[in-house]
């Protein structure tokens, strides 16, 4: 299992692959900047589930969990701790 910094790097890399910009700060709201496309959230969930072996469910569905690299990383850490 990747360490915390590794997780964050993987999340950042995935986001950069799927948005129209080449840099993103870890605390930057990628939705507010209008960087994401309509299928992005679905791809993001697939990625998180596949990469970290966790299952995103209804209780994780708050938009806030997905807005920044930091928040996604926190969600992943919470899920991993609960496994």
């Amino acid at each position: 299992m990747a360490d915390n910094a590794g997780n964050k790097a993987a999340i950042r890399e995935f986001i950069l692959e799927n948005i129209s910009e080449s840099t993103v700060r870890d605390d930057e709201d990628i939705f507010e900047r209008g960087l994401v496309r309509s299928m992005f959230v679905m791809q993001l969930v697939l990625f998180v589930e596949q990469e970290f072996g966790v299952s995103i469910t209804g209780e994780d569905l708050q938009f806030d969990n997905f807005r920044t690299v930091d928040r996604i990383d926190e969600l992943v850490s919470r899920k991993l701790a609960a496994v």
Binding site: R37, M39, F40, V41, L46, Q50, T57, G58, L61, F63
Partner: protein, 374 residues
């Protein structure tokens, strides 16, 4: 990559072929004329655990993997597009509830759908919001008892038969999804008949007029309700539609090969005319190509690969167009018999057109493929 079926998949496929040949092919034209599936086929699908086979066994499925589900969708699409649509919609509703609902909500509704005890319907489209479904105008407001729903949904598959409706509405400015059960006060369904294709999909228009549902029926609320729940369900449906279109095209091809061998004009079977061969070879190669795209999408979906969604869009876009072209050519090759009631190709042609409209029109697929690729 070589998309060879495993021995188990070959065995499963053979049983799906037999199911379609025994139970769907002989009845599909009648259901099309009567604009209704028989109750017995719905029961049989439930009993055979084919309504939502991808659910775990305890939830009413048979734990079928997604690649095998594709093979099933192809054979259902070859046999009867309406049955394929029924199975797709049951999967969309059941999986949305299983994945995004609470455990209590999943326990309450999912096994009923999986076993066929109650049919589900997926109610997103409105009279004024189709491709732009995110901007529907149906509303939900909090009341003491739960939520009050107001608005209309249109073109809802199996809305005539369903007992459980997954309904999208706007709550406090954000998308939300609710379960509404038939019989709830202020909710009614009206059949839509006289369709061009998928005539036995028992479509309905739904009206919600001060319809109150309890708190326990709210499945999801917030922006991600659309981005994950609605979009994810449509992605599941697209995979089924893609494979179903391949099945439809294969049905047209098989019928055309047989007909052009039997039918003689100018002293030879018509398949010996070069222009006929051209149509047949176009059909043969495009069916193979579309099937390979579906296999690829299935392989990626099985691995939760991040490109699975885009590849499913591509498969659906290509397969639905292939289905329509194959059906068009099949009718042409059958001449007047293709127009008459005795051959399945005219039903396939009508059903094929619909595949280019549901789960995102061909134009919306193009927009999305471009958005995800460029």
């Amino acid at each position: 990559m070589l998309y060879e079926l495993t021995p188990q998949q070959q065995e499963d496929r053979a049983s799906f072929v037999a199911f379609a040949d025994d139970h769907l092919v002989p009845e599909a034209d009648r259901w099309d004329r009567e604009q209704r599936l028989s109750d017995s086929v719905v029961e049989l699908l439930g009993k055979s655990r084919l309504l939502v086979p991808t659910l775990p066994t305890e939830a009413g499925g048979s734990g079928m993997d997604v690649e095998t589900y594709g093979l099933l969708s192809e054979e259902l699409g070859r046999g009867c597009g309406n049955v394929r649509n029924l199975v797709a919609v049951q999967g969309m509703v059941a999986h949305a509830l299983l994945k995004w609902g609470t455990k209590a909500q999943a326990d309450r509704w999912v096994p009923r759908i999986g076993t066929g005890e109650t049919v589900g319907a997926f109610a997103l489209t409105e009279p004024e919001a189709g491709s732009d479904a995110r901007n529907g105008s149906m509303t939900a407001e909090r009341t003491g008892a739960g939520f009050v729903l107001n608005g209309r949904k249109k073109w809802i598959s199996f809305g005539q038969r369903a007992g459980i409706f997954l309904v999208f509405a706007r709550l406090e400015g954000e998308p939300a999804a609710f379960v509404v059960e038939r019989g709830t006060d202020g909710f009614r369904t009206e059949p839509i008949s006289g369709l061009l294709g998928l005539r036995a999909s028992e479509l309905a228009e739904l009206t919600f007029d001060g319809c109150v549902v309890p708190e326990a029926n709210l499945i999801s609320h917030g922006r991600l309700t659309f981005d994950l729940l609605a979009t994810g369900s449509l992605d599941y449906g697209r995979y089924s539609t893609a494979y179903g279109s391949v099945g439809l095209a294969q049905g047209c091809l098989t019928a055309s090969l047989e007909y052009t061998r039997e039918r003689t004009q100018f002293g030879v079977p018509i398949r010996d005319h070069q222009l006929v061969r051209r149509m047949l070879t176009d059909m043969i190669s495009s069916v193979e190509a579309a099937r390979l795209l579906c296999r690829q999408a299935g392989a990626l979906r099985a691995r939760n690969h991040k490109d699975a969604i885009r590849q499913t869009l591509i498969a659906k876009y290509v397969a639905s167009r292939t289905g329509f072209r194959a059906a068009d050519d099949a009718v042409q090759l059958h001449g007047a018999n293709g127009i008459g009631p005795g051959f399945p190709v005219q039903r396939h042609l009508r059903d094929a057109k619909v595949q280019e409209i549901i789960e995102g029109t061909s134009q919306i697929q193009q927009v999305q493929i471009a958005e995800m690729t460029l």
